[in-house]
Amino acid sequence: MKYVCLIYDEEKLFDDMPKDQFDAVMGEYFALSDALVESGQMVAAEALQPVNTATVVRVRNGRLSTTDGPYAETKEQLGGFYLIEAKDLDEAIRIAGRIPSARFGSVEVRPVMDCQRPD
């Protein structure tokens, strides 16, 4: 079963972090990614560029509109995700707990819906 772990944290926290601490956290991220590849649980993972690079797109009445900025103005922003393979929610929660940002921000774990095009 696939789960996506959406990683929310405060960008500012990372911006303000001393370099050695930042490097340590990134090191943890790389180690986690390697471990998940090793265990066969990694499907995909990406980190996102900062929220000020975000564009929000909507189509209303056939007209496309774009606005700047993140979808929601909150203290924590979506910073990246892991798409993992786990046998159940408990296993997914354990993996999410190993994501470094779980300590400073939060990680939302969502099961991926099985949407197959009918034959």
Partner: protein, 412 residues
């Protein structure tokens, strides 16, 4: 007993265990419920002819399991993905490898109390699936509408299925974090059985019995001081059950109870658990409440009770788990130690607290102390307020009786 009565008796005693095992075997709560009902329907048809089997539970589990597989295969014509599930289930059933030592109901409790489910859904789901309360009963107990409770249960079951919340007792290293929710729910179930929040009967013994049984299983699984504490607390409360009401079913307060009617065996068991906890010197809210209950259990009368010690334990409890209700109980203990005037002085500011304004026992306790201080008008007001907030019949009769006594004073 005729076969139908026997089926009914088996239903009463075994249906929850059958359901819990079917959930483990079928991996889906809704499917298991349907299978269980099919199995009992089959029993109703067959047992009158064939007699009740030696192991009715095993028979029902097996019947339910194959009924579910049949059902899936029928539906597989419309949804091909079910065919594979049915085949896997059939293969497992053929292999018959379902010797499980752990209680399936415990597994079910942990699933229903999974922290990924909202707290109110945990309680509703446990009462529904583990204890077999109807949605109406749960709604009555928690002052919600049956449709709201039904919604809560449907959403929780959908989340269990869609997010794949596992049906298992968590591994030992994860237990401490998962246990809090379970202890809380087990205690709520016990309380619903011990002092039903509404309805005619003061208690629902079956619910308390179920909670105690779950408590024992938890102790076997994890003899943590809090698990022991919860079991001890439930046993010590349960020991007073028969003394809590008189022949007419009216409420008898702790201080007036005939202590010879307290159940000695339960008290001994509860007290020795408390002793065990004190030796281990680690306390949490349940073990502290159990310690208080043990002090009551050890006293020959309300007057002989070591109120000093009870107040001291409340002081610790207030630090460990502060809440307005604990403060209220501590104030009541101080009233017993130092007199009603000291109690009223502590309770009156507490009554301003939001959480206690709608809490009937707070008004009832205040009324009682006022009555003892001959402040009858205040006592009347507080009894009336408590009455407005109480939907439980025996509690209501008690409060009405107190109000009548105030109007035509018969001195004790």
């Amino acid at each position: 007993m005729d076969a139908q009565a026997q089926v009914e008796a088996v239903y009463r005693h075994e249906s929850r265990r059958v359901l819990a095992t079917l959930i483990r075997l079928l991996g889906d709560i809704d499917l298991a419920e349907e299978a269980m009902h099919d199995a009992f329907r089959a029993a109703m048809e067959q047992w009158p002819q064939t007699g009740v089997p030696d192991q009715p539970r095993a028979w029902l589990v097996s019947a339910g399991r194959f009924k579910a597989i049949d059902g899936l295969r029928r539906r597989a014509r419309f949804d091909a993905s079910l065919a594979q599930i049915a085949d896997t289930l059939y293969q497992q059933a053929e292999e018959g490898a379902d010797e499980e030592l752990e209680d399936d109901r415990l597994r079910l409790v942990f699933t229903c109390c999974h922290p990924a489910l909202p707290a109110d859904a945990q309680v509703a789901l446990t009462l529904r699936e583990v204890c077999d309360l109807t949605t109406e009963e749960i709604a009555g107990a928690f002052l919600a509408t049956p449709s709201a409770i039904a919604q809560r249960i449907v959403r929780a079951k959908a989340k269990i299925r869609q997010a794949r919340i596992p049906y298992r007792v968590p591994p030992r290293e994860e237990l401490p974090g998962r246990l809090d929710a379970v202890l809380h729910v087990v205690y709520l179930v016990f309380n619903e059985g011990y002092s039903a929040s509404s309805g005619d009967s003061l208690t629902r013994k079956d619910l308390s019995g179920e909670a105690i049984r779950l408590g024992r299983l938890l102790v076997e699984l994890l003899p943590d001081p809090e698990t022991l504490g919860l079991l001890a607390l439930m046993l010590l409360h349960e020991s007073r059950r028969t003394a809590r009401t008189d022949a007419e079913g009216n409420l008898v307060l702790l201080e007036k109870q005939d202590r010879s009617r307290w159940d000695r065996a339960l008290i001994d068991e509860g007290t020795s658990l408390v002793q065990h906890i004190w030796n281990a010197r680690r306390f949490g809210p349940y073990s502290l409440q159990a310690s208080i209950a043990a002090v009551h259990a050890g006293a020959s009368s309300a007057r002989e009770t070591d109120w000093q010690q009870i107040v001291a334990i409340y002081d610790v409890l207030l630090r460990a788990d502060p809440s307005p209700v604990v403060e209220l109980n501590r104030a009541a203990a101080i009233a017993m130690r130092d007199g009603p005037a000291e109690g009223v002085a502590l309770i009156e500011p507490l009554l301003q607290h939001d959480a206690l304004q709608r809490y009937a026992p707070a008004h009832s306790a205040h009324a009682d102390l006022c009555r003892r201080l001959a402040r009858y008008e205040q006592a009347r007001r507080s009894y009336r307020r408590a009455l407005e907030l109480t939907s439980q019949a025996a509690q209501r009769r008690f409060l009405e009786q107190r109000l009548r006594e105030l109007d035509s004073p018969v001195r004790e």
